[in-house]
Structure formats: C-alpha cells, structure tokens
C-alpha cells in the first residue's frame, strides 16, 4: 500500500550548503510522526521542501504515491497537505475570520485568479459550514473573529494558523515548531487539541519540534535529524529509551544515574 507521504533521499541546498542531505521518511494516513533535532538540523528545510516552498536539489517527494517533487505550494495544499509555518505567520492586519477564509480560498487556486474567485463565490455555503466546524473545534477563534490576527496572543495566533490550515481540509497537517515561544500550558492545550483532531478526524500530523519531550508525547514515531541527515528513527517509546536521544534531547546528560 502506498503511504500518504513518502520522502526519498531528499536534498535541499542553499547555495553551497546542503541543509538536507539525503533524508527519507514515510508517513501513513492518520499517523502522528515527529521530526526532531537541534537548530539547523534541516527539519524546517525538509518540511518546506515537502510543502513546495523550496525546490529540492535532489530526491523525491510523493503524496499517495504520486511524484510531487518541486510542485508549487498550492498544488501540495490541494493534495491534502497543509503547513502551519514556523512563527505562525498569521495575516496580522486581517481579522481572524479573514485569515481562516483565506485558507479555504487559497486551496481553490490553480494559478488563476478569476476562476479561483468564481469557485470560491460559488462554494461559499460550503466554506461557511467548514468555518463553523473550525469554530466548534476551536471556540476561542469564534470569540476573536473580528480581531486583527496580529493583535492576539502567541497561543491564539497558533490556533489561527492551525485553523487556517484546516480550512483547506487537509489529510496531513505539517506543523513547524508548535511550541516555539509559547507558554508550556498553552503548548499542552494545543497538543491535546491536535491529538483529538488526529484521533477523531483522522488528520495525520507531521510535527517538527525542538522540544523532544513534547514530540514523543504527541507522536507515535519520530525521526531524529542532525546536520541534514537522519541519524535515528523509530517508535517514540523506543527512542525515549535510547541513550543518544536521552543525552542529547531529553536532558539526560544532566542526570546520569548509575544503577
């Protein structure tokens, strides 16, 4: 059976530097998978290459077995893979609701403005219904719908970014640094929400995270990236016991406990 997302020998190059050097990964429909590793390991570059923001220098990205390497971001969204970008990147001057609606509008683009707009206007009722579903999932967004997204808290902006991505009705949500700059309590709430979303709606998760503890709690499998290469992969439970992972990512180095 073909996986929802397959990445094979992917390379991403910025000038002479190889940010991602031959990484492969696989994600089945409905799975929760994490990419962990230190700053600059190539996690975000990998995600951006999958989502079409950067063109890979080599390797292949497949969605449902179809080669989508180097496709435009919009094409990836229409394939059912939406990204929640690092630093949220909400449309700050626009109201929260407009942010969400643009998530639905964006999916209708095939490079052509007029036909996308016509499709959007024709499908307004369906978009409204989807908006209602998002408000039911994230009631906070309904309260904030008139507020410019830039004037909401970090956690609320993360909800806006997630809601915006969900408006495209994705089967896979790729989240770049969920916890970055957010209070631990807020992160726990968002993690719980994502778990529910995954379990009840079957939306798969690909989580890029520096906080390995969070990644292991939320995801069943993980890939460990270092200097652009995948150095480890496996089930979260196993990786959590791995000596290398413990010392490097879980603060195990500070609590060396001889038996």
């Amino acid at each position: 059976m073909t996986a929802l997302l397959e990445v094979e020998g992917l390379q991403v190059r910025y000038g002479p530097a190889l940010a991602v050097d031959g990484v492969s990964l696989r994600l089945e429909a409905g799975e929760r998978v994490a990419l962990i590793g230190p700053n600059g390991a190539g996690k975000s570059s990998l995600l951006n290459a999958v989502c079409g923001l950067v063109k890979p220098a080599g390797g292949q990205v497949r969605i449902d077995g179809d080669d989508v390497t180097g496709a435009a971001p919009g094409a990836i969204v229409r394939r059912g893979v939406s990204q929640v970008p690092e630093g949220r990147q909400v449309f700050g001057t626009l109201p929260v609701e407009s942010n969400l609606l643009l998530g639905a509008y964006g999916r209708l683009f095939r490079g052509e403005l007029v036909s996308a707009t016509l499709r959007y206007l024709r499908g307004r009722a369906e978009t409204r219904a989807r908006l209602e579903r998002i408000y039911e999932l994230l009631p906070k967004l309904r309260e904030l719908r008139e507020r410019p997204a830039g004037q909401t808290s970090g956690g609320e902006q993360q909800m806006v970014a997630i809601g915006r991505a969900l408006m495209a009705d994705p089967r896979l949500l790729a989240i770049d640094e969920l916890s970055l700059g957010l209070a631990p309590v807020v992160v726990q709430d968002l993690a719980a929400f994502l778990r529910t979303l995954n379990e009840e709606r079957g939306v798969a998760l690909l989580l890029v995270e520096q906080n390995a503890q969070l990644a292991f709690e939320l995801c069943s499998r993980a890939y460990v990236l270092e200097a652009g290469r995948c150095v480890l992969e496996g089930r979260s439970a196993e990786l959590q016991r791995n000596e290398l992972v413990r010392t490097a990512y879980l603060g195990g180095g500070l609590e060396v406990v001889p038996a």
């Binding site: 909400v90 001057t93 626009l94 643009l102 509008y105 209708l108 996308a116």
Partner: protein, 282 residues
C-alpha cells in the same frame, strides 16, 4: 490671503492626482514588494489616450476605455516585472519597471508625437468662491480620487480578493503556503494601480497638458506621496499627495515655478532619510 487660498486650491487638484499615483505605488509595494517606477507612465498613457479618443467618442467613454486599456497594459507590465518565481529579485523587478517606463515613454513619442495633448475641462465656466476661482475640474478630481481611495479600501478590507492582496503584504510566505497565487495577485495589483494612475492622468490633463516625457515628474511626485506614508499606507499616500500638491503650488506662486519638481524630490529625500534614521533607531 485670497492669493494663498487660490494657490492651495490649485495645489489640491494636482495633489489628488499625485495621491492617486501614490496609492497605486503603495498597492503594488504592499502586494509585491516592488517599487514601480512605471507608475508615471500609466498616468501619461491614461491622459494621452483619453485626449486622443475624445475626438471620436464621448468623454466619459473615452476615459473608461483609456482606464481599461491602461489596466491591461499595467497587468502585462506586472507580469513581466514579477519575473520568475524565486528567480527574479526585487531589485531586478525594480530595474525592469524602470526599463518599462522608458519603453512606454518611447512608444508614447512614436504614437502621440511630442505635441502636448489636452482635452476640454468638464465645464468651461468656473465658480467664484469668495474671490477664489474654483474650476469644476478640481472638484471632479477630488471626488474621483476620494471615491477611488474609499473603494479600494473597502475592497481590501471586505472582499476575499482584497483580503488576499493584504495577505500577500502581511506574510508572503503564508500566502504561498495556503495556496494563494502570489504572482496572479501581484499582476492584479499592477492592473489596479495602472487604472488608478490612468484616472489621475486623464483627470489632470485638461488642466496640465501632458507629453510623452511627463511621466518622470509624475512618478517622482507619486513616489514622494507614497513615501509620506512609508510606501505602505493608502491614507498616508493620500495625505502625502495633498501636502505635496499644496507645497509645490506655494513654491510656484511665491518663489519660482522652476523649483516645482525639486519640491517633490526634496520632500522625498527628507522623508526617506528621516525614516531610515528612525528605523535604525528602533
């Protein structure tokens, strides 16, 4: 005092035209990051085409056709200036607009020759308001400019396409990620800006005849107006255009008409140097 008021009133009329050109620059800059130097060419084209068409069709229709034509040309220019995704830098795009401005100017010279063009004002009689002469054309310029600015603001705030244009300026990266075609939206911003520029040109040409090479001074003044609001604010460009128009006319009236263009340049330089210092400081 009457003389002063007269100069202000005349200044306001050209000020509204600068404001329209400036608002167009703001729209393109916000959506694409490009500073469009061909903005003056849109105004000249709008004016010259209208002045030529009025010989054959009613003025309103001539103006409408000119606006549509210039919008199409502007969209095509945007398509060229935006270049290839991820390959064309902002600086390259800016140079391309400069080249397109020169090219347009040359085409204008070929098609319309170097004779200044104009067409009759909306009304031959003007009003006397407390000793100040108010030409109905001034009022027309003010009304059309304000209406365009309001309409544009409404579209940007309330329609999905307008929101998408704003989204590009808020976060181009996120706009791409949700699937919006940043490129088509950029072309749209060029077309709309061109239409605004054309309106400015066709409204001002009955008062100030234009030639193929008028685009430089219009572009400079439009840019100065736009720079007033930091190239990112429609209201700022509107205010900037009016301030500039009045200042320019006071200089013409009290000092020397020769310095007309210099005013725009000086104000532009002052704003830019003040802003750059301000931004470094914060």
């Amino acid at each position: 005092m009457t003389n002063f008021l007269q100069l202000v009133v005349v200044g306001l009329s050209s000020g509204f035209a600068y404001a329209l050109v400036g608002i167009g620059m703001v729209l393109i800059h916000r959506t694409t990051g490009i500073v469009n130097f061909a903005q003056g060419a849109f105004a000249v084209m709008g004016g010259l085409v209208t002045a030529t068409l009025v010989d054959d069709v009613p003025t309103f229709l001539a103006g409408l056709l000119a606006v549509l034509l210039v919008a199409a040309v502007g969209g095509a220019m945007g398509f060229v200036a935006l270049g290839r995704r991820g390959r064309t830098t902002l600086l390259a795009s800016l140079i391309i607009t400069l080249g397109l401005a020169l090219l347009t100017s040359a085409v204008h010279l070929l098609v319309f020759t170097d004779v200044p063009r104009t067409y009759p004002r909306i009304s031959a009689t003007s009003w006397d308001v407390g000793g100040v002469t108010v030409d109905p054309q001034y009022v027309l310029i003010a009304c059309v400019s304000l209406a365009s600015a309001l309409l544009l603001t409404f579209v940007l705030r309330r329609t999905i396409v307008g929101n998408a244009l704003v989204a590009c300026s808020d976060s181009r990266r996120a706009a791409e990620l949700v699937g919006l075609s940043v490129r088509s939206l950029g072309v749209l911003s060029f077309a709309v800006s061109a239409a605004l520029g054309a309106l400015a040109g066709l409204l001002i040409i009955p008062l100030i005849p234009l030639t193929y090479d008028s685009d430089v001074s219009i572009a400079v003044n439009g840019f100065a107006a736009a720079a007033f609001g930091g190239l990112d604010s429609i209201r700022g460009a509107l205010a900037g255009g009016l301030v500039l128009g009045i200042a320019e006319n006071l200089v013409i009236g009290y000092i020397d008409p020769q310095y007309q263009l210099a005013i725009g340049l000086v104000i532009m330089l002052m704003i830019i140097s003040w802003r750059s210092r301000h931004e470094v400081a914060t």
